[in-house]
Subunit: 318 residues, 6 copies
């Protein structure tokens, strides 16, 4: 039925309106059965984005106690706060871990689910024991942000205001869960940071200490990238794949290293695009907006051709 | 009054504080009457962002049942869920459609509003009948995301985690409302996606099937762009206008085609900027960070000059 | 403990689970004492992000009455709305101002806090008296957005939908507080806009009237940048520092002018990167994706080398 | 199916579970068509309890400004608060008034609804003009509560804490709407007070000034009761009907005066039950727990027979 | 420490404040171990009041579709609403049923919990199949309320406004769960009604059809009471136990019939107290405020001695 | 203006509607200045009911850890929960204590407020140190409820479901604050319980250990009542004042003992009314619905005259 037709004949009729809706519902219900990318057969519950966000925010308030909350914490109340919050995290994380594991669990029988259940407990506990180390690494990131930005008036300001610290907190949490082979949930955590900061770090990426992302919008760091210590990058930097191998069906082959290796003490300025399994040598500086697809030796200085005065006439408005 | 002055004479006086606030209120109230861009004369209610967001999220849970919610759905409960949600959407959408139509309704008399009311019913129904087709198109987008990204472990992961799917869902919903000439509301829907994903697609854009946006932050696609089937673009790509014609008063003329046509099976890598009513021929590959303002024939390969080792000294910190 | 090990010995034991959590809590509690970037010694409450967001949203509904809310406002009810909202803002802003001031207050004795208290009142009042001027400036920004974008159907649409207007509102509010030397809170306000729009404007930046940012994702404008009147910029533009001086300890020296000066009537297209304390002369047009680190005279036209057809083979997928 | 039977055969079967639910849904859906007390034919929306509660709470904060809210109000901000709140009440009340009127509107055609619409505006406005008088009466109730209870330390305490003042506020608002012949909504308002305080006053009751209900739980005052000035009653008092006339079908005849008339300056102690269209003369005092079904002259003292020491053995536990 | 002492020595000291709190926490933590009525040993989660309330409200909107919600429902959307709501109820009820069963499950080993799990599924399903019958009974209660109260203008008004209907809905739901021997949860449901209406019906009570409670505050109906069809009671009526037998330890013996049997067509007026396993014969009328502990034959008329004019001097103020 | 008049002349006119509202606002604003029971002169913020409710609920979850919350607590997490919750209570209670003290603080100068501030700290701390004793007393109340009601299946059930335990928890908290002479807040706490349970206990009442209130609706216990140990009362019992002395202005004199003394081991059945400063001797049993205004010796048995078969004709419907 076209909108035109509708207005001619029955626009004001509630009866027509009702039967139309019923038909739409039936069509949407049936369409579901025909398309391939749904939960067919497996009727389990997927991880909840709201719950994953809640877990990450709880962990943030544990990793930076006193910064995210309405109350001041003294030495003793800080312990209570950390304990009570972690106790809640443990319980809520278990449910999301279970959902993540079940999502890829192929055997439909109940015995299998008992395995998922056992794995859930082990995985959750293993993650929690990693928190002190995550905390240690984030402390170096905060230090790097403070010393790396003249506009930062204190380390505290970077914890409270810098999107790079927020994104790194989510990444470092998600990375540990990814290492424990938990499906879906780690990606939801880094996508949450991506949504809030514009910084897109795949949970599979490996990143050293004292990492600093300034401004950050548009930063993309791929799944198999390896980043050393004391690396600094700016907004709009891509550490991507140059190409990827396809299997016989034309599908990309998963898991092959295809993103750059950035060695220690490298700085990459805004808008630079670095593609492929190349190595940027230690101490190099990559200029803004450059396009780079080959290895560079340690200590390199790479820059773009400077723009020129010219025949330029019209703009680039959208 | 300067802050210095204030502290000398009346800093602690609540009385001074009160009369000062009263004067500010009066000034803000009067200022409103003098500036041009307000709701003068027309005292209607504008569409509500919260309601528009609620409608989009309800539609998302109808288009991807089982993915966004706390409960597993079986075959029958999926029908109830779709029906009950669409029933709510219909009612809430009508209110926002009415507000959108009234916003541009020029005749102030009540007969006119009866027309808006009738139009609201027709438009809302026409939109709802389009939902199964929207669903079909989104199924192709999900397929494109899964086969186009080696990091995607399943189509389900792209539904749950990929900002490109979120943005395309909002766009495909908004586009249908835009085709039905509904003001304001479609743009609010795509801006909601823009805020969450950094992907800015104008609801007027035309996009074919199997469209894939990876990462997506910074993508901008203009109002009159036309995109074919099986097109793939990466973060930071702009499909913009090179310039736009002005009328005799120096205002841009609305509605003239001014954005690129992207034919089938084109891939555009990150940061590329393509401007003006040019055509990118089918099967072309546009490299990252390129700046392109002229037609390219089918099958083209366009790339940027590679960055060079050089005299680069200082960085680009902000 | 590795996940493997755990599953061998104690995977199902709640007892082990509990003592493990207790140890993690203790380690997180102790770790806090060792790292440098926390609230050690100073046990005050930091500004609350939720409260700062609430204040900004209240101010937005005062500066654009009728646009953000469920109710139409007539001439008289607009006054009540403005008055009641500002009355609430005044009270909530005071608390956040106080927290911001106390955060950097170095003397721990209570007399000092009385000074903070007095300063809080003065600063809050001084800010509120600036609101009518902020309103006036934002009116020019709305006008610039409407006349600068062919896709804008009315000034109202830009208020409701354009991220550039949202970001400028947050910036203009934050800038006044920054001028009054309030720590932390202004940056939280612009970071809130950064999160929602991808536009990152430091509250210290100086910006004239009729400023228009289109699309905006990825825009970064540094702390000491100075922007004239009627300037227009597009998504992905960076106005950054080329380098910054270090002090004897290798820390960046704060507060030195290091970002560009953009004179009146300049347009800067998407993705351009302009670095250092350089001056872009009045009326210049800077093309998309250019990289610019030197002064350009008034009326200049700067463009990037056009991309070329070439040996390009592989993409830039991530 | 009995629970026993279910556990034998199909307790663990999700399939059985699903088809069972489907059958229950169908039965509940059909049952609805057979029973008499539903919205058959008339598919309108009933007044919303949440909205009615919101309106009453908004009015409470207007009638007692400064008592129910987080902020202190000075002379000017009180005006803004009252204005902004009443503006919201007007809009929300109109919707509920319209629902109440439509609920009893018998003619199904649209012309009739235009009448409801017009009536809605008139009724809402008429109610709002009564607010200052309601305020005046409530001031006398507050005074009566303060002088009538030795435990009250200030009139303010009675506004903040006394259920009698809460119930009277709801009643006095509802009574005005009841006088304007609005269906359903007034009763929802007094039932809201009944739920919170245990005091059940029918909105049709007529009550003079300086009325004081202490404690109040269990107080019931019927539809046609008439209460003079300066009356005081305690918890558990019933002013009810002794009997009611039936029509030829055995249904009670509506609207006949059947509840007591209480003249000025009467006090009724806890648990007293006064039934029928009798008159309690001015200045009388009715003792606790008495049962009274006949007129008493002015100045009467009525008391129950005192309990006696006796053969009492067992208790009255529940 | 007395308040006086505290103010002498350490009133302003945050340090003292902190160590004091720590000691209080330790004492509260230890006290828990000493008292008998806690969850010692059994560390399970108790049923959640918020969840139980949510389940009851969902069921109310299923049993009276269209009355409690913002939307009108037509014939088809009513089915979707019922289906989607029951689907949610099923899931949430299962969790609370499981908690209720586990609460009294004595064997701590995991095999036992599998039994609880199985029992949970059976019990939940058995309850859901009872819903159509519950609906049927409630329809008779609504009819009884309408014909029994001259102030009721329609059956709809009694559904929307009458606390007796609310209480009976909760009771009839809870009673079915109580019959299925679910611990704790049924009592939480009737206590929820008790809190909102002041009507306290034990879920174990047996009540026939067409039951009407008017006003209701203070009504108490005990666990073993049996009430016939077409019974009507008013506020403040107690159907309680006269005494109860104690076991050798002095504890009351559970489960012995000890509350009244009320036969068909009985009316009991406000404040009447009826105690013990006595029988009130069919068609009897019990007057207000009477105290009754013996059987009365069918057709009886029981009334209190009328109050008298007397020596009454002082009041009964509290 | 009558509703009739309005419909004749200006029913549909928004303009008339607006000016009418403006006038109502002005009248409500002025009326405020004339009536006596407002916050004239003293422009402080009154205690917040929502905050007081939050404090009480937090304390309830500390006093009965594991019963009110979604999580199971083990031995260690219980300590964290208690600590973190008490830390929050301390901060929120201080604000409400300050508001309560300032409310009655007569001297308007700031030095006086410093006194309030100091007093706030002392009073809050003194209250917190009382919590373990409150916990101990409540443990006896729970024991009394379990052993006193045959329908109680476990002490846990009484904690979760019995209104008497809820009311006693609020009372025992409020009583300690009342002993510390905090205005307003204690009464708000007991009124919160009154609203939820129908049990109205003045915070000034003195109550011993093992106190049990069954059902509770309608119970009223006055300010100066004194209740011993192991006392049990049922719904509808009043312990009130018989009369109260007036001062020369006719106002009741505050603070004179005027409510009953109930000695140890007394049971009072439902609906009994006991008035005046009389003493009910230890071990007495007071029957239901009695009216008692004189002392009774220890061991008394007091009962009401039994109701009789009689001339009763009509009912007591309302």
């Amino acid at each position: 039925m076209t909108s035109q037709h509708a207005s001619d004949h029955d626009s004001g009729s509630p009866m027509a309106d009702r039967s139309a809706l019923q038909e739409i519902v039936e069509r949407l219900w049936r369409v579901e059965d025909e398309s391939g990318h749904h939960l067919s057969g497996v009727h389990q519950t997927v991880p909840s984005r709201a719950a994953v966000v809640g877990i990450v925010e709880d962990l943030r308030s544990v990793l930076f106690p006193g910064y995210f909350g309405e109350r001041e914490l003294d030495e003793e109340s800080r312990r209570w706060h950390i304990g009570a919050t972690l106790d809640r995290v443990r319980q809520q994380l278990r449910e999301q871990v279970r959902r993540g594991l079940c999502f890829v669990c192929e055997e439909p029988d109940s015995a299998r689910c008992a395995q998922c259940e056992a794995h859930t407990l082990v995985l959750t506990r293993a993650f929690l024991t990693r928190l002190p180390d995550i905390r240690q690494l984030l402390a170096t990131d905060v230090q790097a942000a403070y010393t790396g930005d003249p506009a930062a008036s204190s380390p505290s300001e970077t914890i409270l205001c810098y999107p790079g610290i927020l994104a790194m907190t989510n990444y470092r949490i998600a990375h540990e869960l990814h290492r424990l082979r938990l499906p879906l949930v780690p990606r939801m955590m880094t996508e949450y940071a991506h949504s809030v900061t514009g910084i897109d770090i795949h949970p599979g990426t490996t990143i050293g200490d004292h990492f600093f992302i300034d401004h950050g919008t548009g930063v993309v760091i791929g799944e198999t990238a390896v980043i050393g210590n004391r690396v600094r990058i700016y907004q709009g930097v891509t550490l991507g794949a140059k190409s990827f191998a396809l299997d016989e069906r034309g599908h990309p082959i998963k898991g092959i290293p295809r993103h750059p290796i950035i060695e220690d003490d490298v700085t990459i300025y805004s808008g630079a695009t670095i593609l492929g399994r190349i190595t940027i040598g230690a101490g190099s500086v990559i200029g803004g907006n450059v396009w780079l697809t080959h290895d560079v030796p340690p200590g390199s200085r790479i820059s773009q051709v400077e723009a020129r005065q010219g025949e330029f006439v019209d703009g680039g408005g959208v």
